[in-house]
């Protein structure tokens, strides 16, 4: 089957290559594709079709059809006609039960027709409903392409690489290269993308990505290019599309039989791989190039029985075969016994990338093809993609005979299309979704024109009126690994992160931060805070410096509470609201000096708060700057009755209760590090929040840990703050919550002239409270789920936002939104716990240390 060496062949006969197909040894040469080596070895059936499991063989030999897809080294859906053969490759057939020659599922082709008409899965097997999962499983396993191993681990490495160029040329044919050379000659940096493996070096001055496929043209001229295991993201000032034209199959009964090929397949088999494609052939073609294929066949030793020029009027054609393999073709009633039919219905411009870029596509009546028009700025088309030298012919009249396939990928027949139209799917976009024509691996390359034509004929409209389906990326199938890229997720870690890991912390995500959930025993950690002292890393808090002559005015306007009267060295709790009066974030504000404030936010709210501040100041134009120092400053909170005692030896700051009061801010050194000390407490005990430069995170942490303070994580912190009924923004509030109903009316100073959200909160005040955030105490100790229902008279009346068992209190406590009339100390409420209802008492004052004596001690 392999011909004698020929000039220009791609194979290197001095370098044999061996691989296995279904466990059997296959021999080829360097330069072979897996497909060419298999063909040279005598293989003709390469796949089984999607739905009917009909045998399919090489059709295009250029990666444009679904016919040669196999599993290679565990990767499904590899088009072996373009996949380079490599030593030791393990190649298997896919979508078969048995073998490619004897596929049990081929029974669908013989007997399944009446049960599997177009769109059958929308109508049949959907009842009884309960059985659908079973049917679905069956259908998924019976039809389709290769199988993905859902449990497989990442086996290969996929990379993404960015490229910038003056000019990107998509298509390395003669027109593309000519445009590329011209651009390079004028000094532009040119990148050429070509689907074919390069022959020799790239032409001078050009950067060649090959074999590579441009997957689409996105907004801003971004072109992703798949090249093996690298996805290039190319941005060019100018894009030249030279994707050429696509040979179109001829639609006739039996047109999917193994042995019916496009001219390009013959060109490649003969010239690239020196293979005789068949013994006896008939050529059916609609353009001169394709007709000339007869010479190539003769040159390769194939006997050409007939050459039919399809431009000479519609022909009646029908092919026949045995076991799916071609044994003859009838043309105008004359039968030719042959094993090869080279059929081409002409060439359709490969305009898809241009359409994605925004070009319009119109039907050219004279040529019988769709051509691109009105190209967007910076996108050009050259060569046959413009329509130059292309043309196509209408399908032959329908004959009785084997199935006539409009779409090989999805096994859509002419009968299916007619039926879809009869059922009312009379637009091409609807038909696409119903029949799935053009939705398969060829992405419409070989079926789009044919289906539009069929629609035009059956609905008695012109092709122009039918139009085209929307072109969307990817233009060619792409491995998911390539889209996924490298497995990295940008995660933020505090400068103390590694100390937590070393101490055995279980880490969790909070927003984009990694934080310790706990160090193994949340209850013991909470106990340590109550009994001695605990240490928590709060570096994740957002931190801003608001500074300038009008900084106080700004804070006064943006927060509902007062800051103009805050004295330097003092701290105030701050709740930030939206202009609709909803709670957005919370934190503290410490006044450094007359013009400087240090603002903290929640860990996940920092970016939103900064944007909010900047947005408002863009309107107010007050004289101040807002600087985000979140990452620059590490923070730890030392809390517990022994906190003062433990911190004392490490700092030059006077910690005496009278010298350093609750809500005071002081400055000094801790463990030799310049530190801002804030006397605040989220966890309800005497506490110091220490803010210092991040590069000293481990130094300060180590010094504090060495005093015997117990590190505690987020989970114990949540228990502790709940005991104090401290609200966690985002957990206990949502986008509808306001400060009045969230039981923080004291934070809203209506007497101020203005603040963001004032009008909305006034409205809430006028209309009265509807719901209220309250504490609750379970009566039987069970812990309700967060998000669980508050039930009243059998109906949903509110929801639980936080709930934990407090070892300190010996009971389950929580926070919940309840109707205003239930927001009364000791009121009975009912909560859903598991399948049942449990009783709880409403609490309005903190569960632990309600007077705050410990905090202020």
């Amino acid at each position: 089957m392999r011909l004698d060496p020929r000039p220009g062949e791609r194979i290197d006969r001095s370098e044999p290559i061996r691989f296995t197909f279904e466990g059997k040894l296959v021999e080829g040469f360097a330069g072979d594709t897996i497909g060419s080596a298999l063909y040279a070895g005598g293989r003709r059936v390469f796949s089984r079709s999607f739905k009917y499991h009909r045998p399919r063989g090489l059709l295009c030999c250029s990666g444009a059809c679904p016919n040669c897809m196999m599993e290679v080294d565990g990767v499904p859906n590899v088009r072996v006609c373009v996949a380079p053969a490599h030593e030791g490759a393990v190649v298997k057939a896919q979508n078969v039960r048995g073998s490619l020659e004897r596929d049990l599922m081929a029974a669908t082709d013989k007997f399944g027709g009446p049960f599997t008409p177009v769109g059958f899965y929308y109508r049949t097997m959907i009842r009884p409903r309960a059985a659908w999962p079973l049917f679905e499983k069956f259908l998924r396993s019976a039809a389709g392409l290769g199988t993905i191993d859902k449990h497989a681990r990442r086996t290969g490495r996929y990379d993404v690489e960015h490229r910038h160029a003056d000019v990107l040329v998509i298509g390395g044919g003669s027109a593309g290269l000519e445009a590329a050379r011209a651009a390079a000659a004028s000094g532009e940096h040119v990148v050429v993308v070509d689907e074919n493996a390069p022959r020799g070096d790239a032409p001078g001055g050009l950067e060649l990505l090959a074999p590579a496929t441009a997957l689409g043209i996105y907004e801003g001229g971004l072109v992703p290019v798949a090249a093996g295991r690298i996805l290039y993201k190319v941005r060019a000032k100018r894009i030249v599309v030279a994707t050429g034209a696509l040979e179109q199959p001829v639609i006739f009964p039996g047109n999917d039989l193994v042995g019916i090929v496009l001219p390009e397949a013959v060109r490649r088999l003969v010239h690239d791989f020196s293979i005789r494609p068949g013994e006896k052939a008939v050529v059916l073609a609609a353009d001169d190039d394709a007709l000339a294929i007869a010479d190539d066949l003769r040159d390769a030793g194939t006997q050409v029985l007939e050459v039919v020029d399809l431009r000479n009027g519609p022909h009646r054609i029908s092919a026949s075969g045995t076991k799916g393999r071609l044994n003859g073709v009838g043309v105008e009633g004359v039968r030719y016994n042959c094993d090869l039919v080279v059929a081409s219905g002409g060439r359709q411009p490969a305009y898809s990338l241009l359409a994605q870029a925004g070009a319009t596509v119109a039907y050219d009546e004279g040529r019988g093809v769709f051509v691109p028009r009105d190209l967007p700025a910076n996108v050009e088309a050259v060569g046959s993609v413009t329509g130059e030298g292309t043309g196509s012919i209408a399908p032959a009249k329908t004959l009785l005979g084997d199935k006539t396939f409009v779409c090989l990928c999805e096994d859509v027949t002419e009968k299916d299309v007619k039926r879809a139209i009869a059922e009312g799917f009379d637009s091409i976009e609807l038909a696409k979704r119903y029949t799935t024509v053009t939705m398969g691996p060829c992405q419409g390359r070989l079926c789009h024109l044919a289906s539009v034509r069929m629609y035009a004929r059956e609905t008695k409209q012109g092709e122009d009126a039918i139009g085209t389906t929307t072109a969307r990326p990817p233009w060619s199938p792409v491995e998911l690994g390539l889209l996924a890229g490298r497995p990295h997720e940008p995660g933020k870690r505090t400068s103390i992160h590694h100390r937590h890991k070393e101490a055995g912390a279980t880490m969790m995500w909070t927003g984009s931060w990694r934080r310790p959930h706990s160090y193994g025993d949340p209850a013991a950690e909470a106990r340590a805070v109550h009994e001695s002292a605990g240490l928590i890393d709060v570096s994740t808090l957002g931190k801003l410096v608001v500074r300038g002559p009008e900084a106080a005015v700004f804070l006064e306007r943006i927060y509902p509470n007062r800051f103009a009267d805050l004295k330097p060295g003092r701290i105030r709790y701050a709740v930030l609201g939206t202009d609709g009066g909803r709670i957005m974030d919370d934190g503290t504000v410490a006044r450094i000096d007359d013009e400087t404030f240090y603002v903290t936010t929640t860990s996940t709210g920092a970016e939103g708060v900064i944007e909010w501040f900047e947005w408002w100041n863009a309107i107010w134009k007050l004289d101040l700057s807002i600087v985000d120092v979140t990452g620059a400053v590490a923070a730890v909170n030392l809390a517990g009755p022994q906190a003062r005692e433990l911190l004392g030896p490490l700092t030059d700051v006077d910690l005496a209760p009278d010298a350093f009061k609750y809500l005071d801010a002081k400055q000094g050194k801790v463990a030799g590090v310049p530190t801002l000390l804030l006397r605040i407490g989220f966890v309800g005990e005497l506490g110091y929040e220490l803010h210092f430069p991040s590069p000293h995170g481990e130094t300060v942490w180590d010094a504090l840990a060495a005093t015997g303070a117990t590190p505690f994580g987020l989970e114990p912190q949540r228990i502790l703050r709940l005991e104090k009924m401290h609200v966690l923004i985002g957990q206990d509030t949502d986008s509808e919550s306001n400060a009045l109903e969230a039981s923080m009316p004291w934070i809203v100073k209506f007497e101020k002239d203005e603040f963001v959200g004032k009008w909305a909160l006034e409205h809430v005040q006028e209309r009265g409270m509807r719901d209220r955030l309250v504490g609750f105490e379970m009566q039987n100790g069970s812990v309700p789920p967060e998000g669980g229902a508050v039930v009243r008279d059998g109906r949903l009346a509110g929801r639980v936002t936080s709930a934990r068992f407090s070892e300190q209190l010996g009971r389950a406590i929580g926070l919940a939104w309840v109707p205003e009339e239930l927001a009364v100390e000791d009121a009975d409420i009912t909560l859903r716990v598991s399948a049942g209802l449990e009783r709880a008492k409403v609490r309005l004052r903190p569960f632990f240390d309600p007077e705050g004596e410990r905090l202020r001690s």
């Binding site: 490298r486 002081k666 400055q667 530190t675 130094t699």
Partner: protein, 160 residues
């Protein structure tokens, strides 16, 4: 004692600061710049204040990053403040590293590398990129140090 923004300046600490990239880049051969450069976030017009031995990267007409030797940041901040330029010592907020070659940068960023200095996503993290020939200095928020260290090493491994 009145309060100030000294708690932002790592160079004022007596113990040696630690680079957030130290672990990620250990034994990698990549140069860690985190403790070489101090970073000031300056608001105001710097054109009238020539400074020696520093690099000024203008982020907007009103905002610049001033890169100076790590230990000089607090002094330089005071000097600028004395001239009416609001400056914050952001040295603790940034980590920096140096990579060589366009190839690795192309795996990390879509920034046009012929137009540096630039600010944009490198490995999906906002980064200031400075170019000196074939060497690139990258400065990014220190909380991404571990991630960026891993990301850069991984990109280099892919090219190996």
């Amino acid at each position: 004692m009145s309060l100030s923004l000294d708690f932002l300046s790592p160079a004022l600490g007596e113990p040696a600061p630690r680079s957030p990239l130290a672990r990620a880049l250990a034994r990698s051969g990549i140069r860690d710049l985190s403790l070489d450069y101090g970073v000031l976030d300056a608001r105001g017009d710097l054109t009238g204040h020539p400074m020696e031995g520093v690099e000024v990267v203008r982020l907007s007409p009103e905002r610049s990053f001033v890169l100076c030797p790590y230990r000089d940041a607090p002094g330089l901040r005071e000097w600028l403040e004395g001239r009416g330029v609001a400056a914050i010592d952001a040295s603790g907020g940034y980590a920096g590293l140096e990579v060589e070659g366009e190839a690795v940068m192309r795996r990390l960023t879509e920034l046009p590398l012929d137009r540096c200095p630039a600010v944009g996503a490198v490995g999906h993290v906002a980064t200031l990129v400075l170019r000196d020939g074939d060497r690139f200095r990258l400065f990014f928020r220190q909380e991404y140090a571990d991630y960026m260290g891993e990301r850069v090493l991984d990109a280099l491994e892919g090219l190996a």
